[in-house]
């Protein structure tokens, strides 16, 4: 009790200290990896949030209040994420967008829950919704959905006979790889190899050579693009003739840069890429993003987070309050087919997003994507 009092006292003093116009502004937090390995994804999230907030402020703000964005860099590290959560709570935000990685999102969840702050993330770990926090909802699909989709593609579409599955040690990638493995086995497919690499070690030749001996049809990697690009290069250098399929976190411009010529022919599993989103909102916001930042969003993840933010704003306007409990109930129960940039979606009672289509892309010689499977 004492702690809560202290915390609220802190929050109050922070709020008073930061702004003289406290009454006329509301704060929205961004927790994302602004620096570090996944910096371009984090910056993409931050940029998109600011784009939408500025637009809202031009229209007169939320319920007549100006929105202020407070960004905290979690470097995609759990420890930093916990610090960020406290920082943003003390700054007095009512909602937080982020983070990019499931690990950093999970590390901050409890703090937001205790402070009744809404949190929405693109994290896809199934574990993110297991605590049943009413403060949290997901703006992306869960790993299990992607796992089933990928396995179906491997076994029924591609008819791969020998499948090698790799992940790193992160909760997200490990969970996704396990999900793919289980689903492949359920469909009667053959997982010839399941291994883990340490993210950032750069040298994967030993494990790839081991895989080579098993002569697989496909190497699937569920981790992030920073390692995925290198895996692909070293796969080619070792002359392993298997297809390379990357999970959604490989979908990043840096994957192409890292892999160089080796990127050609790689398959990526993800929700629709930003530039082929056929929705009204997509055209509008992606054009605005490009005009303002002179580049495309780094990946779909910035875009789904923007949808999370838009859902929160919708909740504020529809309930006509900043009461996070009410907003959360609105988003979960009353919001029907919200016209997201990434397509219409609903949020289930447990905070799971309903309504996300997955696709498989193949990277072409010029680095562009071609849809090769769409279900």
């Amino acid at each position: 009790m004492k702690l809560i009092k202290l915390a609220s006292a802190f929050a109050l003093s922070a709020a008073v200290a930061t702004s003289v116009f406290a009454a006329d502004t509301v704060k929205i937090g961004v927790q994302a990896p602004i620096t570090g390995k996944y910096a371009n994804e984090g910056q993409g999230i931050d940029n998109f949030v600011r784009l939408i907030v500025d637009e809202k402020n031009k229209e007169g703000g939320l319920l007549g209040k100006k929105i202020e964005v407070v960004t905290c860099d979690d470097e995609a590290k759990a420890q930093k994420a916990a610090v960020c959560a406290k920082k943003l709570a003390n700054a007095g935000v009512f909602a937080v967008i982020g983070s990019y990685t499931s690990g950093a999102t999970e590390a901050a969840q409890t703090t937001y829950y205790r402070n009744k702050i809404l949190q929405t993330s693109d994290g896809t770990s199934d574990s993110l919704i297991k605590r049943k926090y009413w403060t949290f909802f997901r703006n992306s699909f869960p790993n299990s959905a992607q796992g089933e989709f990928t396995a179906d593609y491997f076994v029924n579409q591609k008819k791969y006979k020998r499948i090698a599955i790799l992940s790193d040690y992160s909760s997200y990638a490990d969970g996704l790889a396990n999900s793919v493995e289980d689903s492949v086995k359920k469909l009667g497919g053959n997982v010839a190899f399941r291994g883990k690499i340490k993210s950032g070690t750069q040298n994967f030749t030993a494990i790839l050579t081991k895989i080579k001996a098993l002569n697989p049809d496909v190497i699937y990697y569920s981790g992030y693009y920073t390692d995925g690009g290198l895996l692909r290069v070293q796969q080619q250098q070792l002359g392993i003739k298997a297809d390379f399929v990357g999970g959604d976190s490989n979908d990043n411009p840096d994957f192409l840069k890292l892999a160089g010529d080796a990127a050609e022919g790689v398959y990526l599993v993800n929700v629709p890429t930003p530039d082929i989103l056929p929705y009204e909102a997509a055209k509008k916001y992606l054009t605005a993003y490009e005009a303002r930042f002179n580049m495309k969003p780094p990946s779909i993840w910035a875009v789904v987070n923007a949808d999370g933010l838009r859902a929160v704003m919708e909740g504020v306007e529809k309930t006509n309050s900043f009461d996070t409990k009410k907003i959360s109930e609105y988003i979960r129960n009353d919001m029907k087919d919200f016209p997201g940039i990434t397509g219409p979606f609903n949020i289930r009672e447990d905070g799971e997003r309903v309504g996300a289509s997955l696709m498989v892309y193949q990277i072409q010689e010029d680095g562009s994507y071609k849809v090769s499977f769409n279900k």
Partner: protein, 300 residues
């Protein structure tokens, strides 16, 4: 069999890189009895410098063989200069101080370089272009070797042999060995110890710079804190081989790379690192001075 040979090549490639970096540690220790903890970060710095030279001067033009050599030489010279500067600022004032002070200074210098990289190039991952060296590969009955791998293996072997002759067959080499045995006596014999130490830093930094450039070209991705990992591995390689021994550093580096690849290939990829170090600890228990380290009689 071809899989075994492939693992051998994998291990030797990374081992050669460790060995190149380990030489810098072992030379400095041999002469000054100091572990230069900043060496790993200097190696990382060299990769960034090389990348910048490449993008600034040769980014637009096709990379010719001559240009690659220019990049390597320029980088090596710049890093040698930084190495000498490091010795002047961080180590020379502490040469007669207790050894712990010099170690702390070395750790401080490592942090300065690491944060310097972060401030100059930013905290985000930097990516080496993939077309610096030709992407030729050779397939010898199932064993694949890339042009870059061959370059690493051949060039590091040549450099190590050259260094061995430089230390053992030249006048400066003799002076270096004399300084390593006893600085004061060397001074009395008319050897300029300051100059010798400068030469050590020049040679060690240059070898590290070539190692760092190869790390960049071979692995393509650079992070500002990568120096610590390579530095640590190279430092361990130097200890295994016997710190202060030049052939020891080479053997230590190659062994470390080989152990890692073979354990990953034949026992467990997930335990490779752990088991490698267990093995190394066992080696040190059996031979505390390292494989080629000599038992030096303590002066009484």
């Amino acid at each position: 069999m071809d899989i075994f040979l492939q693992q051998l090549i994998n291990g030797l490639t990374i081992g050669s890189l460790y060995a190149l970096v380990a030489l810098g540690y072992t030379m400095v220790y041999g002469v000054m009895k100091l572990i230069n903890f900043a060496h790993g970060d200097l190696v990382a710095f060299s990769a960034y410098v090389g990348l910048t030279i490449f993008t600034q001067f040769f980014g637009a033009s096709a990379v010719s063989f001559v240009n690659v050599i220019i990049i390597f030489l320029l980088t090596a010279i710049i890093i040698a200069f930084v190495g000498v500067l490091l010795e002047r600022l961080a180590y020379r004032p502490l040469r007669t101080a207790p050894r712990l002070s010099a170690v702390v200074s070395a750790l401080g210098a490592a942090l300065v370089i690491q944060n310097g990289i972060m401030l100059i190039w930013g905290p985000n991952m930097q990516i080496f272009p993939s077309d610096i060296l030709p992407s030729t590969t050779w397939n010898i009955s199932g064993v694949i070797m890339t042009f870059t791998q061959v370059c690493i293996l051949v060039l590091s072997a040549v450099l190590m042999i050259a260094l061995y002759f430089f230390i053992n067959k030249t006048k400066i080499g003799t002076a270096i060995r004399a300084t390593a045995i006893d600085q004061d006596a060397a001074k009395l014999m008319g050897i300029n110890v300051n100059r010798i130490i400068m030469i050590i830093f020049v040679v060690g930094s240059m070898l590290g710079a070539i190692g760092g450039l190869f790390i960049g070209i071979y692995y393509r991705s650079l992070t500002f804190d990568m120096g610590w990992v390579y530095g640590l591995n190279a430092f361990i390689a130097a200890i295994i081989g016997g710190i202060g021994s030049i052939p020891g550093a080479m053997i230590g580096g190659l062994l470390l790379g080989l152990f890692n690849a073979l354990i990953a290939g034949y026992i467990s990829t997930q335990w490779a690192e752990t088991l490698t170090f267990v093995l190394l600890i066992i080696i040190l228990i059996v031979r505390p001075t390292g494989i080629l380290g000599e038992k030096t009689a303590e002066k009484v």
